[in-house]
Structure formats: structure tokens, C-alpha cells
């Protein structure tokens, strides 16, 4: 294990977080919350100094292997969360540290589950930091670091692999730094466009920024107690579209950018994503209309909720807890499917679902024609057996973590739907579940133990499980 390089990167991460503390500090000053602003400023200074000190240690070897990549990423996220929780405690808005930690992990992992019963009581600085953490966590801090720091060597790929979601992480262009830069550029521009559309609908700049951050990172922290229910139809539609677009694989936008439009629309995953979305909207609308809802209004509300759950954002304009059982069922299935690989969304990812279905189909064919040879393909190309293998392993690990977490949560004595959907909502980085943790509820009633289990689930879900498991596996730390 190359400890010195891990320290160096963690030093950078802490310094970066210090810089990320500055926008909330500015917000605090603008809204006259001097106390909060000063807290953020002091923390920013401390982080920059401390990170610098950690980074001072001389690195002997600059290369690091897959193992170091996983450990660095997992540790970075834990440390970022631990530091990021401090402002909530120090400003006094969330006095308990575990609660603050839950809140910031939920923010950074773009989950959007909250332990707050009254969001509107928070200061503007803290609201901004909560939403801003979605934006940071959406594309990933380490990818951001790769984009701005001159890190040479191909081994940096191990960092991106560990942080970016998807079965096979590829680069857009040959150079790592340029790839990371392009990803952030697309991300940044799309966020700005969302903000502009929101401003056009009459939202204030502060609210536009917070909601755009939530949509871009597919996070879902609202700044109102009723999430987005109180805003106009136009604003809700803007958020629907932007959530949907941020759930698309970013390679799609890169292809558009280099004018390979055909390649972009030929991406199998994006097509599936689109059709799953349409199918879900249609089915749920039918079920709502059958219950006596108006067609136009239903489509608009359903599209919002479906986009919100499928991209694992978690904004809400309606309480889908009150929908018919079949609709709730579809919502839970969507929670597991999640968004596209290579997007800011969570869940199992559409591309993996495709691989699983293709494998099942292959296995069926194998039973009918035992000697038949059939190669699994995606986007017209044969799938590497290692990719399929790692997808299967991930599903195994996923189910394992799900079951263990479920057993631990059951200790709190809630009903099964609450327990099941609370794990689904955190492990898939969505936010709201059903019943107690539904769109109008929150996670404040869970015991501290359950909160820690859910925090682990959120981090594991964001980093796609393997990095967190590698970190806690004793074999990693043996020489």
C-alpha cells in the first residue's frame, strides 16, 4: 500500500473542500447571516491549511494501483463527509453530529434523504451548502480533482474507475485530465442552462441555484418543506426535464458535442432509459386516471415523480404514498433500475439491467439449443466477459448489503414497507421511500444505529459498493 500518495490525495481533497466552503460563506454574508458565514470562512481556512500540511509529506512513488484507487476514493468520501458535517453542528442548525453526518452524506452521495422535520428553519448558508454538496457529489470530487490537477500517469484511471458509476468506465478522449475536464464542462454548462430556465420562471437566484444543484447532481434536497409542490407548473416541468437529462449517460452529450449525432442516438442504454421512462409514465398515468384523475394534470405530475425516482433525485410534487398500489410498485421497481451509467444518477443502472436481462435470455436459449453459441452484445459490440462477471458480482454484493441492512433496520420496529423502501432509497441514492420515509416524511425517527447503517448504504450505493467493501476488507491492509 502506497500510503504517501493516499495522504497526498486526501490532502488535496480537504483543501478542495475548504474551497467549496466559500460559496456558502458568501451566501451567508449576502443574506445577513454573519455568524454562519464566519463559521464557513473559518472552516474553509482550517481546511486549506490542514490539507496543505497533510500534502507536505513527500511522496516517494507517485504510481498507485487499483487497490490504492479504491482505498483513496472510499477514504476521501468518508473524510469529506466527516468534515462537511461540521458547519451544520457549529452553526447550531443540526446540533447532533450523527444527524449532521447523515445529512451531509445524503447530500454528497446525492441521495436527498433528510432527518430534518422543518427544512425551512435552516439558514440560507446551510441550505446552500446542503444543495451545493449534491452538485459536488454528483460528478465526483476526485474527477474534479483530476480535471484541475496535473496528475500524470495512467494509474489515475484507477481513481476515476472507483468513483464513476457504471459497468465499464471509459474515457471520452485519450487523456485522463481532458476527459475529466470535458465531463465537468458538460456538467457545468447544463447546470447553468437549468438555472437560466428557472430564473425565467420567476424563481429567485438563490432558489434557482439550490434546485439546479439538486437536479444536476440528481440529489433531491429541497429548500421547502413541501419540496417543489408549491412552485408553478412551468418550474416543475423545467425540473422534470433537467432531472431526466442529467440521468442520461454523459457520453451521449460528448457525442453530440463532437457532432456524432448518429452514434449518440444509437446508444442502446439511452434508448432503454427513454423507453423505460415513457412506459412507467404511461402505466402510472393510466392507473391514476382510472381512479378519477384528470389526464393532463396526471401526466405532468407522474412525469415529475417518475423522472425524480428513476434518476434517483428525490424531488416531489405529489405524495406518491397515496397512489394506487400498482403505481407504488412501479415506483419501487424504478428505484432499483436507476439512471444510466456515466450519469450523475444512482441505482443499479440501466446498462447493468440490460446485461442481466441479456444473460437471462442467453441462458434460456441455451436450454432450448444446448449447443448454441451466443455472444452478449451491447451497442453492437461483444461484451467483455470480465464486465459481465463484475456486473454479476456487484448484484450479489448489492443483495447481500441490502439484506444485512434490512435486518439491522428491522430492530427499530417500523413496518416492512418502511424498512424495505428506506434501504432502497438510500442504497440507490434516491431520497424518499414509502410510508414513514415517503415524500412527505423523513428519516429523523430512526435510531442512531440505523442511521449509521443507512449512511454506509448511501456511501456504498454512490461508489457502487466495491470501494467501500475493499476499504473494510482486512486483506487490503495486509502487506
Amino acid at each position: 500500500m502506497n500510503y504517501s500518495i493516499i495522504f497526498k490525495i486526501i490532502g488535496w481533497i480537504i483543501q478542495l473542500e475548504g474551497i467549496f466552503f466559500l460559496p456558502p460563506a458568501l451566501t451567508g454574508f449576502l443574506f445577513g447571516e454573519t455568524k454562519d458565514a464566519v463559521v464557513y470562512l473559518i472552516l474553509a481556512t482550517l481546511c486549506i491549511v490542514l490539507g496543505g500540511l497533510i500534502r507536505m509529506r513527500k511522496t516517494v512513488k507517485t504510481t498507485f494501483y487499483a487497490k490504492e484507487g479504491f482505498v483513496t476514493v472510499a477514504l476521501s468520501w468518508i473524510i469529506m463527509s466527516a468534515v462537511g458535517a461540521l458547519p451544520f453542528v457549529l452553526t447550531g442548525d443540526i446540533p447532533s453530529y450523527p444527524d449532521a453526518l447523515f445529512e451531509i452524506i445524503s447530500g454528497l452521495t446525492t441521495t436527498g434523504s433528510s432527518i430534518l422535520t422543518n427544512v425551512e428553519a435552516l439558514s440560507h448558508a446551510n441550505l446552500f451548502w446542503r444543495s451545493f454538496s449534491h452538485w459536488i457529489g454528483g460528478m465526483g470530487v476526485l474527477v474534479f480533482m483530476l480535471a484541475i490537477l496535473p496528475m500524470t500517469g495512467g494509474s489515475t484511471m484507477n481513481l476515476m474507475k472507483a468513483e464513476s458509476p457504471g459497468p465499464s468506465v471509459g474515457k471520452l478522449v485519450p487523456k485522463m485530465q481532458r476527459t475529466a475536464f470535458l465531463l465537468y464542462a458538460i456538467y457545468f454548462v447544463m447546470t447553468i442552462i437549468t438555472v437560466i430556465f428557472l430564473l425565467c420562471g420567476g424563481m429567485s437566484l438563490f432558489e434557482s441555484l439550490c434546485h439546479a444543484f439538486g437536479a444536476a447532481g440528481t440529489g433531491g434536497f429541497g429548500i421547502k418543506n413541501d419540496s417543489l409542490a408549491g412552485y408553478s407548473t412551468y418550474l416543475q416541468n423545467v425540473i422534470t426535464v433537467s432531472m431526466f437529462l442529467f440521468g442520461v449517460n454523459f457520453s451521449f452529450y460528448y457525442y453530440l458535442l463532437i457532432r456524432k449525432v448518429k452514434d449518440a442516438f444509437c446508444m442502446e442504454e439511452v434508448r432503454w432509459y427513454f423507453f423505460i421512462f415513457l412506459g412507467a409514465v404511461a402505466l402510472i398515468t393510466v392507473s391514476l386516471v382510472a381512479e378519477g384523475g384528470a389526464v393532463g394534470e396526471s401526466i405532468q405530475t407522474v412525469a415529475f415523480q417518475v423522472a425524480s425516482v428513476m434518476t434517483t433525485t428525490g424531488y416531489a410534487t405529489a405524495d406518491f404514498n397515496l397512489w394506487p398500489a400498482v403505481s407504488r410498485g412501479i415506483m419501487v421497481v424504478l428505484m432499483f433500475i436507476g439512471a444510466c451509467a456515466g450519469s450523475t444518477g444512482g441505482g443499479i443502472k440501466v446498462s447493468r439491467i440490460m446485461i442481466y436481462l441479456k444473460q437471462v435470455r442467453k441462458e434460456l436459449m441455451q436450454q432450448i439449443h444446448p449447443k448454441r453459441i451466443r455472444v452478449l452484445k451491447m451497442d453492437g459490440k461483444a461484451l467483455d466477459s470480465t464486465v459481465v462477471h463484475s456486473c454479476n458480482t456487484l448484484l450479489m454484493a448489492y443483495v447481500l448489503i441490502f439484506i444485512v441492512s434490512l435486518l439491522l433496520i428491522c430492530l427499530d420496529g417500523f413496518d416492512m414497507t418502511t424498512n424495505f423502501t428506506s434501504i432502497a432509497a438510500t442504497l440507490n441514492n434516491i431520497g424518499p421511500g414509502l410510508n414513514v420515509v415517503g415524500p412527505t416524511g423523513n428519516f429523523s425517527e430512526f435510531s442512531t444505529l440505523s442511521k449509521f447503517v443507512l449512511m454506509f448504504d448511501m456511501l456504498a450505493g454512490r461508489l457502487e459498493i466495491i470501494p467501500m467493501m475493499v476499504l473494510f476488507h482486512p486483506g487490503t491492509w495486509k502487506k
Binding site: S155, V173, P174, K175, M176
Partner: protein, 457 residues
């Protein structure tokens, strides 16, 4: 630069490693994902799985925006096709590895009609490097450039040498205009000499001279007493020994080749009538003694086995410690161990290929964005050697150099006409289609017409 490397074998990987360190944007093509894997996990580059001679694969590797394609797959035909396709798709330069001697014989025709910038034959390149090691005295520094077409040798002039106090034009006359002084370093001042410059003791000169003239040059200029190599013994009869023997025989050196395979011996004796071909196992110690390993001037181990080569050179060192030894080792992974052994110069054909290509890529990188074909930096970047391709007639063509008003500190050191190298004198001239290599201390030459002295500028 954006570079595509087709073929991720040993040479492909070594190239990728080096070019990645130098900061180029690389895409690797190989038809085996397994072979790409180590490069993808250790280096910062992109990989494409596919056949390098398929147009779609090349498109996927973004050939349209690529500056250079290096085709080093195991098959000559794939390399050539892939270069041809690349040329059709974009304006990139291409490098192909071609090792089949039948194609290699037609190298100049292939290069012209397929518009390939560089064709490299690993065996011939290795033979060339070995010949250089054998013929050039150890004390001499060599700058090789323009794909190894031009060797610049550096010599320091001593006080008792007849060159001391000699004018450059007298020097030329003395050596029948066969030797050209390109760069003169006098008192740490680098300049390009003209006919009136005077050579002084302590000066360093860089000269272009044909290999076979090295010995006579040293004898006449009394610069150093060197041990002349008159006969060479080569173990092994593969392609490198064949090319090496060819080149050595051309310089009048006696060659003895030891080869185990009878049919190969027949072929060698037919192709190299002047060489002595011995049909025997190279490790037969009685035969080695009988053939005079104890008296030979140089011993080159070029059999197919690394271990056999190392042992042969060790043996040569034991019975004839003064002879020059050269050992071919293909796998250099453990070179830390063998470099301590007394087996003379160690050389790996793959490294030589890689080095040649790298040198070309660097020269391309230097000339990026100008009309210059290639630019080489010499003498700590104080001198530039530029390679121009004369595409059309202009003010400098068809005029003898005597009548051209060339810039000061500029020298036309070499003209490549239809694959033949001409060391120019005042009566020579440039023709359309020539490649002209110019040495100068002026920076930023853009076009061949820039070699003229323009008083207006």
C-alpha cells in the same frame, strides 16, 4: 500530438509508454482486449479493440483528427493497409513496420506510392546499429538523424593534427569533397562554417562522412590511433546477420557467418558470395577455435537464443579479451544482471526500432504546424537540422549552390534524391521532389525558400 499506435506488442507498448510520458494523446488499436489491458491500466490512453486494417476501427480511433499513425502490428500487410487507409481518411503522417525482405527491397517505391512517411525494418535497423558500433571508434560521438540517413560525427581537433590551422575549403579539397563539416564549435561558440572558416586545435567539428571513409579520415587527420576492424565473426544466420554482413562487406570488412541450418547456409552463400559461411552449431567450441575466434577483431552473437548469445560472448571474452563484442538480447527485462557481464555492447532489436520511431515522432512534434517535414535539435538545441520536401519548382531549384545567395550560418548538408543520398558541393543543385536537409543556427525557418538570404528582412 494525437497519435494512434496500431498493434500493442512489445514495440507498441514500449512506444506507448515513452510517448505517454512525453505528453502525447494516444489511442492504441489491437485485436485482442487482453493485450490492451496492461497498457490501459498503466498508461493514460485510450484503447480500441479491432483490426487495425479496418476502416471502421480506424474511424473509431478518431483517425480524422489524428496527426500520426504508427502501424507496428505483427503483419506487414496489415501495417501497410492501415497506413493506406489512414492516408485516405485524414492528413496524418504514417509510419509502418515492414520486415519481409521482399517488401523491404521495394521500400522506396512503397513509400512513394503509398505516401508513408517512414518505413522501418527492425532487422535492418538493428543491423545498421550494429554496423555503426563496429565501424565507429568508441571515442566518437554520433548524432544520427533523418531516420538514420545522416550520421553526424563529432570530432575534437588536436594540436598535432594536420587539420590544425586549416581552412575549410582546403579541408574539402584534401578529402575530395566527400567529407562535409556541418557544425564548428570554437570557444563554446556554435557556428555553421563556410569555406573561409579556419579550424583550430580544441575546436569540435561535426562532420558527415561515409562509414567506409572513417579509417582513412582518421589516418590522414592523425586524430587518434584506432584499432581498425578488418574481420568480424557473426554467430547466427538470420535476417540481422544477413543485413549486417551486407553492410560490412560493402565497407570491405571480412565477414564469417556461422549458421546451423544447411538450407539457410546455401541461401546465405548465394546472397553473400564474398562472406565465409560456416555450417555448424555456433556453440561448438572446437569449430570456434578452428575458425579463429582467438584472432578475430570483433565477435557478434546474433543467434535466436538470448542465453546462447550471452554464453558465446562470455566465451569470446575468455579466449580473446581484446576483441569487440556485441550481444543481441531480446528480453531486456533482466538487463540489470547481464549489463555487469563482460559481453560487450548489449542490444535489443525491439529497443532500436522503438528508438528510431521515437526520434521521428519527436522531430515531427518539433515541426508541428510548419512546412518543415521534420526538425531535429542538435548540440544542446543551438543548431536545428530541418528536413524539407521540395514539392514544386521555386527560386532555389535547378540553380547550382554557388550561384545561390544562401543565408549565413546555414548549410545544405544532404540531399535525398530517389532514395539516394548526395553530399552536396557547390556544383550540385536542388530538384523538384528532393528531400533537402539543412543545418542552421537560424530558428524558425518555415519554407525551403527561407534558406535564401533576403536583405529586406
Amino acid at each position: 500530438m494525437k497519435i494512434i499506435i496500431a498493434g500493442c506488442g512489445k514495440v507498441g507498448y514500449a512506444l506507448a509508454q515513452q510517448l505517454n510520458d512525453e505528453g502525447h494523446e494516444l489511442t492504441l488499436i489491437d485485436n485482442s482486449a487482453e493485450r490492451l489491458q496492461p497498457a490501459l491500466s498503466n498508461l493514460d490512453l485510450q484503447g480500441v479493440v479491432g483490426n487495425a486494417s479496418s476502416f471502421l476501427t480506424l474511424l473509431e480511433a478518431d483517425i480524422e483528427h489524428t496527426d500520426l499513425l504508427i502501424a507496428v502490428t505483427g503483419q506487414d500487410e496489415i501495417n501497410l493497409i492501415s497506413c493506406l487507409l489512414a492516408k485516405k481518411a485524414s492528413k496524418c503522417r504514417t509510419i509502418a513496420r515492414v520486415r519481409n525482405p521482399e517488401y523491404f527491397r521495394e521500400i522506396n517505391y512503397l513509400k512513394d506510392c503509398m505516401d508513408i512517411s517512414m518505413i522501418i525494418n527492425p532487422e535492418s535497423a538493428a543491423a545498421n546499429a550494429i554496423a555503426q558500433l563496429i565501424q565507429v571508434p568508441d571515442a566518437m560521438d554520433i548524432d544520427s538523424f533523418a531516420n538514420g540517413k545522416v550520421d553526424l560525427m563529432q570530432v575534437v581537433i588536436t594540436e598535432d593534427s594536420p587539420l590544425h590551422n586549416m581552412k575549410v575549403q582546403d579541408f574539402s579539397r584534401k578529402f575530395n569533397h566527400e567529407i562535409l563539416i556541418c557544425i564548428l564549435v570554437h570557444d563554446h561558440q556554435v557556428c555553421i562554417p563556410n569555406g573561409n572558416s579556419v579550424l583550430m586545435a580544441g575546436d569540435t567539428i561535426s562532420i558527415i562522412l561515409p562509414r567506409e571513409k572513417i579509417n582513412s579520415f582518421y589516418r590522414m587527420s592523425k586524430l587518434a590511433t584506432i584499432r581498425e576492424i578488418r574481420d568480424v565473426m557473426i554467430a547466427g544466420g538470420g535476417m540481422i546477420p544477413y543485413y549486417l554482413a551486407q553492410s560490412l562487406l560493402r565497407s570491405g570488412i571480412d565477414v564469417k557467418l556461422i549458421e546451423r541450418n544447411r538450407d539457410r547456409c546455401d541461401f546465405l552463400s548465394e546472397a553473400l558470395p564474398k562472406a565465409t559461411i560456416i555450417h555448424s552449431d555456433a556453440t561448438d567450441h572446437d569449430m570456434l577455435l578452428e575458425e579463429g575466434i582467438e584472432q578475430t577483431d570483433a565477435f557478434v552473437s546474433l543467434t535466436n537464443g538470448d542465453e546462447a548469445n550471452i554464453f558465446l560472448s562470455l566465451y569470446a571474452n575468455k579466449v580473446n579479451a581484446t576483441c569487440k563484442k556485441i550481444t543481441k538480447v531480446n528480453r531486456l527485462e533482466l538487463d540489470e544482471i547481464i549489463s555487469d557481464l563482460p559481453i560487450g555492447s548489449i542490444l535489443s532489436p525491439k529497443n532500436i526500432t522503438t528508438e528510431y520511431i521515437l526520434q521521428y515522432v519527436r522531430s515531427q512534434h518539433n515541426s508541428y504546424g510548419s512546412n518543415v517535414e521534420a526538425l531535429y535539435r542538435l548540440m544542446d538545441n543551438q543548431v536545428e537540422a530541418l528536413e524539407f520536401l521540395v514539392k514544386e519548382d521555386c527560386e532555389v531549384t535547378d540553380v547550382p549552390f554557388i550561384n545561390l545567395n544562401l543565408k549565413k550560418n546555414l548549410l545544405i548538408c544532404c540531399i535525398v534524391r530517389k532514395g539516394r543520398i548526395i553530399t552536396p558541393s557547390g556544383r550540385d543543385f536542388i530538384q523538384k521532389g528532393d528531400k533537402v536537409i539543412v543545418v542552421t543556427t537560424h530558428k524558425g525557418l518555415q519554407d525551403i525558400s527561407d534558406i535564401m538570404d533576403d536583405p529586406l528582412k
